[in-house]
Amino acid sequence: MAAIAQPMAAAPAERSQGVWAAAWTRLKADRVGMVCLAVVAAFMALILLSAAGIVAGGWQLEKGVPYANPGFLGQRPNVEAQSIDLAAPKGPPVDISDIDPLAPKYAEWDKRAAEIQTSSPPRAETLPFGGDRWGRDVLAKSIKGAQISIFVGVFAAIMATCIGTVLGATGGYFGGRVGDFLEWVYNVFTAIPNILLIFAFAAVVGRGIDTVIVILGLTGWTGIYRLVRAEYIKHASREYVRAAQAIGASHPSRMFVHILPNISHVVLVQLSLLVVGFIKSEVILSFLGLGVPIEMVSWGTMLAEAQTELVIGKWWQLAAATAFMAVFLTAFSLLTDALRDALDPKLR
């Protein structure tokens, strides 16, 4: 008897797996997904280190000669770096002190200049992955650029997701007048071609990291609004929501405590799709000079510099920015796919 009773007693104690635990189990079985998760996690660690100033803190330092060759191409002739020395005039300087009206002041200026300490650290001939026009390390720039680009992409996506979710929840849950009004707002935003909307916002709000996030967030919420609204319409009349109403849960409580967790997988997948899209948009905006300010670096500003560098044969900045971006975005896109498969097993 005891042998039979034991498993009977154990069964209720073993709770069925939650949605997230089940999704995690499925995700762990997906080998591609796990590799991508590792790559994305590595990037996140890298940008945290870079934000803390531990890695790539000195990306603005001019460590090498202009257009320093990458370490593995050390022997390559570097005409651009030599041309600086050539620019100095040859031969003895002509003495024009008797007609030069500024001549009496030179001694004083020299003295004052001497008071200011300047240092010109020795410049390296080669850098690990080459240098840009001012001799800055391309590798450090790429890491710093990754920090800015990913930061902008993630925060803009969070902003767009919040706007889209709140509006979609309100429109889908209440319906009626409120829903019609939000549908109208949605129609207005989608009637304008996306790039024109971004340009119109960019024309009025100026430049800067925060404004790029605001622009992308305010223009990119429409897709997620549509999906969340459809889910809320479906869920609002379900029994568990009516049960919540019966025990006295308020509207906001039903919307965000009861329904939201049940559709959070939709939101999460949309969020990661938006991150990929927004990083690409940020790169294009920064490339056009409508994105991050010039004292910052992002993958977009690197590509803007790389365009002119490529013509004189300096390809490493282009290669570095492209490689960083391609690896991160590929990993992130594949992770999104894996996440969708893991969270929505019915889909296939």
Binding site: V188, F189, A191, L196, L197, S333
Partner: protein, 301 residues
């Protein structure tokens, strides 16, 4: 449609009214006296209350008279007339080419679902989509135009045929290559959807050969979602190629609005945005009507 258009006008008006800089100060430039700014303000009606300004704005839109560009003094209507043909010369071939290439490719991939060729093409698509559009243009322009000299690096002429045969091919090829990957991936799912249906099994059961099943039965049904997607892309032909236009110095609408953003040329930005939104709505309406002919199940309300 009318409420939406009204919303677009309101959005653009309030966006520029409350967040944009003071037009009078932009117009007057760096060195201007207070009187000059005041007189410009009076001229533009900026000293009026906001509803009067809104009325002026609506009147401009309805009468198709946006006045002149602030910076170049060109008539805004003239900007449309002269920039639109260039945009269309580039964008129409791109749209036609990418759709015509992506459909057979997607059909092939969907047919060999799960096999090596399918997986290879899908992975190549993901990789290709992860590289920025900018990189394709930079490298393509450098390689094919600068190094190999097959095409001019950039330029445009007055003759349509010269544009189409000399200056447009490289931009068209590059843009088509870029949009091929996402479209192939998307159409693949449409084909997979159809292949899973019962009618395909029925067709196989009655002994039709694979070619007939794919080209007659599956293709026809898969074309419906594909056409929906193409209808979504259609409004993009006006300003969608702005990057291409900027890189290749093609005097199109996309490049014009980018230049207008850079010089804070509000009338141009406002006019292009409002009119393209209206045009987009018209196109969507027309495609909705046409849709009924493609798919008889659709009932127009």
């Amino acid at each position: 449609m009318v409420p939406t258009l009204a919303g677009v006008i309101l959005l653009i008006f309030f966006l520029f009214k409350f967040f944009g800089g003071d037009p009078a100060e932009i117009l007057a430039g760096q060195v201007a006296t207070q009187e000059q700014i005041e007189s410009i303000r009076r001229q533009l009606g900026l000293d009026q209350p906001w509803w009067v300004q809104l009325a002026i704005f609506v009147k401009q839109i309805v009468s198709f008279d946006f006045g002149k560009s602030w910076m170049t003094n060109e008539q805004v209507s003239n900007i449309f007339a002269s920039r639109l043909p260039a945009s269309l010369t580039v964008m129409v071939p791109i749209l036609v080419l990418e759709v015509c290439l992506a459909i057979p490719l997607a059909m092939l991939v969907a047919y060999y679902r799960g096999r090596l060729i399918d997986r290879a093409i899908v992975i190549v698509c993901v990789l290709a989509m992860s590289i920025s559009f900018l990189v394709y243009i930079i490298v393509g322009q450098y390689l094919f135009a600068f190094l190999l000299g097959w095409f001019p690096v950039q330029g445009w002429s007055d003759s349509f045929w010269k544009n189409l045969t000399t200056y447009a091919p490289l931009p068209i090829i590059l843009a088509t290559m870029v949009s091929l990957a996402p479209q192939t991936r998307l159409y693949r799912t449409f084909f997979l959807d159809e292949i899973g249906h019962d009618y395909v099994r029925t067709a196989r059961a009655k002994g039709l050969d694979e070619r007939r099943i794919m080209f007659t039965h599956v293709l026809r049904n898969a074309l419906i979602p594909i056409l929906t997607y193409v209808a979504l892309l259609l409004p993009g032909i006006f300003a969608g190629a702005f990057l291409i236009e900027i890189f290749f110095s093609i005097p199109g609408l996309g490049r014009e609005i980018y230049l207008a953003v850079n010089r804070s040329d509000y009338p141009v930005i406002q006019a292009v945005t409002v009119y393209l939104a209206a045009l987009t709505m018209v196109i969507n309406l027309v495609t909705d009507v046409l849709y009924k002919f493609v798919d008889p199940r659709v009932v127009l309300r």
